[in-house]
């Protein structure tokens, strides 16, 4: 019994020490950003993740973050929802002028596009460059409504973009190994454009876990849908999975330095569970990703004033593994 108590005490002490271990190069002048997905619960876990993002930003001063959809659960986003599920948990970041760029999820009212905090400029899909000389353009898509008009816009934007790094982000994953699985319809629509126009990296949410997919046809896919919601044990590892983590809440940090995009995935307890680098070749296609995923041991959650979110409902619609 004494050993158990000692172990818990050690974990409690060493956890925070191991926390905030920054693995990215963190170079001056690089493009730095954070990635969160499926955030809008307003629950204690969202706040815990938000707190860690703030902690890490003290060492890794990113200027913007991308949101992968489901920004407002439980209703379509009334004024109180915006406060509880976005403005309060990320207040220190917003106060520090960090810009959040949102994509819409299946729980989001498209009227969120008019909310200034999401920087969508009134559009359901849009693109932006974090700075004029950054060499990277981000494309936020509305995967809830991928109509021909949006596809046409996306193709034009890609064709006109001279950026070496083209990063797309949206809600539904073309590749994933969870309850929903890969969205084959969306993949059929988007993947040809990714390949034709050299999209290098894709960030999605929807599945409530973290998964790094093995590069597919020159494109690196990440699923980051556990920044406030978690479906424990939901990853059904397939040949697609390079690394997956479905035991805790996470967010990502990313940094672009030349032809390399570094990433680090961190839990609400500040443990780094995956890190590595995506390398692209001269033709802008991803030539490989080196990652160091680690199966983080469960760490006792920090005491919370709010009760934890109720467990997910049983999985009733598990797709056939692909």
């Amino acid at each position: 019994m004494r050993r158990v108590l000692l172990s818990i005490l050690l974990l409690a002490l060493t956890g925070p020490l191991a926390a905030q271990e920054l693995k990215l190069p963190n170079k001056d002048g690089s493009v730095k950003f954070a990635v969160v997905g499926d955030t809008g619960t307003g629950g204690s876990d969202q706040y815990a993740v938000g707190k860690q993002i703030v902690n890490f930003r003290a060492k890794f001063p990113f200027d913007f973050a991308i949101m992968l959809g489901d920004n407002m659960y439980g209703g379509q986003g009334g004024p109180k929802d915006f406060a509880k599920k976005f403005e309060t948990p990320y207040k220190p970041l917003l106060d520090a002028k960090v810009k959040f760029y949102a994509a819409l999820g299946n729980h989001d009212n498209p009227n969120q596009r008019s909310y200034t905090g999401f920087n969508m400029n009134g559009e359901r899909y849009y693109s932006f460059k974090p700075s004029l000389n950054a060499g990277v353009r981000f494309f936020a898509l509305d995967s809830n409504y991928m109509d021909p008009k949006q596809l046409e816009w996306f193709e034009k934007e890609l064709a006109a973009s001279g950026s070496d790094w083209k990063i797309a982000f949206f809600h539904h994953p073309p590749y994933a190994s969870g309850m929903h699985g890969s969205d084959e319809i969306l993949k059929g629509q988007l993947e040809p454009l990714f390949i034709k126009y050299g999209v290098n990296v894709v960030f999605t949410g929807h599945e409530h876990f973290y998964e790094r997919i093995k590069p597919q046809k020159g494109v690196q896919y990440f699923v980051e849908g556990s920044s406030a919601k978690l479906r424990k044990g939901d990853i059904n590892p397939t040949g697609l999975t390079a690394f997956g983590y479905d035991s805790g809440y996470t967010f990502m940090l990313a940094e672009i330095v030349g032809d390399e995009l570094f990433f680090q995935t961190v839990t609400a307890q500040a443990q780094t569970i995956d890190s590595g680098v995506v390398k692209k070749g001269t033709d802008n296609r991803v030539v490989g990703t080196a990652g160091q995923g680690t199966a983080a041991k469960p760490v006792p959650a920090a005491p919370s004033a709010k009760p934890a979110a109720p467990p997910s409902k049983p999985n009733t619609q598990r797709p056939t593994p692909k």
Binding site: G74, G75, Q76, G77, G78, P79, D81, F82, A83, N106, H107, D108, N109, P110, N111, S114, Y115, T116, G122, R124, S143, N144, Y145, M146, D147, P148, K149, H172, M179, H180, G181, D183, E184, I185, L186, G188, Q189, S312, K313, P314, N315, T316, Q317, P319
Partner: protein, 211 residues
């Protein structure tokens, strides 16, 4: 096979739409009158070889009329660039209330006429019955089997408690494109809803569009 069917349908529709010039993204040029169903003479002139084009033309005319009214209301109360969530919500609710007033007699089938409903079901059929049926139905299944369950009533709001179920891309590819003011949504996994994006109200719907 599905691709072939989709291509044939798309070509057929495109021929009809381009022939009558109705498929456009900006619908602000519509008339201010209640849409008149397309006359037999107009139908014959529009595309004599394609009966579907006349139905689409009729659908677009009815939709044009709705969108023109909606935009006229929005023009009077544009959303500010720095609007707060409360202001955005207030504008949505005000617009919905105004639309209910000017469309107080609106009923199911005003835009999705029986002919339009029949055509749309046919256009969606390859995606929900063909080889892609499994993927389509999977796309309609939301988190943990959660789907939008909406009691469909024209002019009623889409309940804030219900998710806005994703409309599969392959279904959107087969239906006439809509202006940005309205969108297709699926409720209860099978009903096709025409939803006003800005006002969050149900404009019209087709029961059991997906079977």
């Amino acid at each position: 096979m599905t691709e072939l069917i989709r291509s044939v349908l798309a070509l057929t529709l495109a021929a009809g739409m381009s022939g009558c010039g109705m498929l456009r993204q900006d619908t602000a040029k519509g008339t201010d009158t209640v849409p008149e169903p397309v006359s037999a003479e107009q139908k014959a002139t529009a595309a004599p070889s394609n009966p579907d084009s006349a139905i689409v033309e009729d659908f677009n005319a009815r939709l044009d009329n709705y969108v023109k009214k909606q935009r006229a209301l929005l023009k009077d109360s544009p959303v500010a660039e720095d609007a707060t969530p409360a202001q955005i919500k207030a504008r949505q609710d005000t617009l919905a209330a105004e639309l209910r007033v000017i469309r107080k007699n609106a009923k199911q089938g005003d835009i999705f006429t029986p002919q339009v409903a029949e055509l749309f079901k046919r256009l969606m059929s390859p995606e929900v019955k063909g080889p892609d049926a499994k993927e389509t139905k999977q796309a309609l299944s939301e988190e943990d089997g959660e789907t939008a369950k909406v009691n469909l009533v024209v002019n009623a709001p889409w309940p804030t408690s219900e998710p806005l179920t994703t409309t599969p891309a392959n279904i959107l590819a087969n239906l006439p494109q809509l202006p940005m003011d309205v969108e297709y949504r699926i409720s209860n996994k099978r009903h096709l809803v025409l939803r006003d994006v800005d006002a969050n109200i149900i404009v019209d719907f087709i029961y059991n569009a997906i079977r």
